[in-house]
């Protein structure tokens, strides 16, 4: 019976056209991305990994949204699906400046690419190892003819300078750089295209603490300078708190809680958010630990639990949680949570 209800809401959400609101650069409505599991003799599809299973949020121009969650919760896939980088979506809508991204032809999509960029987590695998840095940064600029030829070199120098790179770095190859500098190169590559919206996919988690701070500051400076909009994906709550204006917490493909940063951090509602926050180690030897230690580990997204996906690890699990999936609810103005505890 409950299943019926779920599928009903799904179809309803999928078909509802999203009304465009110009203050939002990005509107994501019930986004779904399922990956097929191939198996058997003829490599037929034997199941689906529901990496992103209904994510809804809106992102205001010039702001930063933090997306947190553990590994495997689908935050990276969300980022890439928004940018149409992992094939076709399974369901839902992604509106960039009011334009459905998945409706564009390949040619139109290519023309749109410079407007929405991505910075990756691993600065070692995200740079072509056999191209010099100047080429990595400038390639797409030339491809899209963003600057006239004669100004090209100066433009690249300017972008590199903005990202804290020196001109002599241009002729060097990525492997000669440290992690922090590589991340600067990645940022420079994204910024050279003059984007409006950047997905930062764990841009600092592979870096050292002192370099992390530099990169975070750089990202913030650039945001001010170019009025960028960020979707900042990270598992590091402290970083997300520092950089974000709104925060979404993901668990197993679902956005379980979403709202303004202050709301989320001062008043976390979802039991998972609470547990997540309490797990952060505090650099104070005498700090009192009031940890909510979650039992077990994150279930497989190929076979998620029924009802509320978190019920297997939740301390407040009710009978209802096991049967019925909760829906997103606005508990306070602008503070959404997906939990049966707040149904009243």
């Amino acid at each position: 019976m409950s299943k019926q209800a779920v599928s009903d809401t799904k179809t309803a959400n999928g078909q509802t056209p999203v009304a465009y609101d110009p203050q939002y650069i990005l509107m994501v409505k019930d986004l779904k991305k399922h990956f097929p599991i191939k198996g058997g003799m003829m490599s037929q599809t034997v199941g689906w990994v529901k990496a992103v299973d209904g994510v809804t949020f809106n992102l205001k121009r010039g702001t930063t949204m933090g997306l947190v969650g553990e590994s495997g919760c689908g935050k990276t896939t969300t980022g890439r699906t928004i940018l149409r980088l992992s094939g076709e979506k399974t369901g839902g809508a992604v509106l960039f400046n009011g334009q459905e991204v998945y409706d564009l032809s390949a040619k139109e999509m290519r023309a749109l690419r410079p407007k929405m960029q991505i910075i990756f987590q691993d600065p070692f695998s995200s740079l072509s190892p056999r191209l010099p840095v100047g080429e990595i940064i400038g390639e797409a600029v030339r491809e899209h003819k963003l600057v006239p030829k004669e100004k090209f070199n100066d433009y690249i120098d300017e972008v590199m300078d903005n990202c804290g790179l020196q001109p002599f770095h241009k002729d060097r190859y990525p492997h000669e750089f440290s992690g922090g500098q590589r991340q600067r190169i990645c940022i420079a590559r994204a910024l050279a295209l003059n984007p409006e919206f950047v997905v930062c996919d764990e841009p600092v988690s592979a870096l050292d603490v002192s370099i992390q701070a530099q990169i975070i500051n750089l990202l913030k400076d650039l945001q001010e300078k170019y009025s960028l909009t960020y979707l900042f994906i990270s598992h590091d709550l402290s970083v997300v708190e520092h950089i974000s204006d709104t925060v979404g917490v993901m668990y197993l493909g679902n956005l379980v809680e979403y709202g303004a940063k202050t709301d989320i951090f001062r008043n976390p509602l979802h039991p998972y958010t609470k547990a997540l926050f309490s797990a952060i180690p505090i650099p104070d030897p005498q700090a009192k630990m009031n940890r909510i230690v979650l039992e077990g580990s994150i279930p497989s997204p190929a076979n998620p639990p029924s009802g509320c996906k978190f019920h297997t690890r939740c301390a407040h699990c009710m009978q209802r949680c096991k049967e019925e999936a909760p829906v997103q609810r606005e508990v306070e103005p602008g503070h959404y949570v997906v939990c049966h505890l707040y149904d009243q």
């Binding site: 890439r80 940018l83 980088l85 999509m109 290519r110 023309a111 749109l112 690419r113 410079p114 929405m116 960029q117 991505i118 990756f120 987590q121 691993d122 695998s125 995200s126 740079l127 072509s128 190892p129 056999r130 191209l131 390639e139 797409a140 491809e143 899209h144 001109p167 002599f168 190859y173 492997h175 000669e176 750089f177 440290s178 500098q181 990645c186 590559r189 295209l193």
Partner: protein
Amino acid sequence: MSEELKNTNQTEEQYSLNDDRRVKVLSPGALVVKRFFRNRLAVLGLIMLIVMFVFSFVGGFVMPYGQAEQFYTVTYLDKEYVGVTRNDELRYAVADGQEFGTILQAQFLLALGKGKTEYSYKGEDYTLTEEGADFYSISKADGTVLAIAYKDIVNAADGMEDPAFAVKYEALKAYANGGTSFSADGGDYTLDEEGNILSDGTVIGYISRFVVAPKENGVTITRDFKEKLQEALEDDITEFAYTDEEGVESTYKVSYDATAKVWSVQQKTPSYVYDTYGQPSMKHPLGTDKNGMDMLVRLMYGGRVSLVIGFIVVAIETVIGVILGGISGYFGKWVDNLIMRIVDIFYCIPSMPVIIILGAAMDNMRVDPQIRMLYLMLILGFLGWPGIARLVRGQILSLREQEFMTATEACGIRVSRRIFRHLIPNVIPQLIVTCTMGLGSTIIMEATLSFLGLGVKFPFASWGSIISDVNNSYVMTTFWFIWIPAGICLLIAVLGFNFVGDGLRDAFDPKMKR
């Protein structure tokens, strides 16, 4: 400009610890080179290859001979020259205008056997007279001499006409009776003790019991030679030398066949032949092969052919393999499926039988050796690409999932650019390694085919075809210089390619620390 100036100035200064110009590092190329040269085996392989290349490509120019230049040598053959028999049978000479048929001869022998002096045949009577030892004359009843039967033979002297019957008769008569002169047909003749018949001091013939018959047409045997030979026979000498009037000295071998009662005299004649299987010498350091060609030069040119075939085959394989593998890996889905099934089919083709059949067909069509070589390369290349296609596909499949490829997509870079600027350069190290290894196996394959007679054909040489000259155990055990050097060349080249390939793989692999 000013920027450059500043840069150069800064190198003089002491860099701060934050500046990565403070420490000099190894450039990527230098790193690979360094790792390669640290591998002793790889360096050995490189040296081996360089030696083989110099040997094959430079050696040909240094050596004074051409690849198909044949060499000759003089060998002495024992040619049957004459046969000598001692005459033990009666021979007949018939007087001019008379007839003495075989029946009469038989009747004569019958009578002789019975010791009669007369016999009759068909109503006619014949008288036989013993004129001397083994010398008889047969006369008709009317007294005219019909024929003579003799064992000592009257030969004409060199350049003389056969003596007339009367001369023969008188000469034999005198010879049998120990006379020194006789006259016949109105001429006076003398007979010396050696049996020479002289007329006015010139020898016109001689009498001898031996019959010397030349074995070849057009050979005339001089009197002098006959006498020398006779002496030799009497002294039981098996070999003697003779200088003819022109001063050419030859040696002769005499052997006696007891059953046929024939002395056969063989002349050692010099003959000008191909220097087949010549032993190593100063002129030919590795001897000559069965066609009389210099082995060392053949090896050099053979190396050239083997290496060039190797390179061209691998180049063909690589071009096809990279294109199909690249397409397959990048586009995936049904394209990938299709190409990979083609690859599977190619893997199933039993290449050896196919090549053998094609080789035999080419043999049959008498394809020009040069064009044949071209076909061989095409066939080998066409059968060899699936391995490379698989490698490239695998590499590209894994590279495609790398974040830098996602980044190129996010930047909206063209597909062709993505493949050729971002994917292919990253496959090249593995490709170089596989190609280097492939060179070795292609050379072996070519050698095998040439050995089977399907590959490179005369006048071109390849290491394989040189070895294939050794097709029986006699040649193998006796003429080591034919196949051992070629085998060593093959070994060095293939081993060299494999060592270098291994070394390159290690050098290109950034995970290899040492």
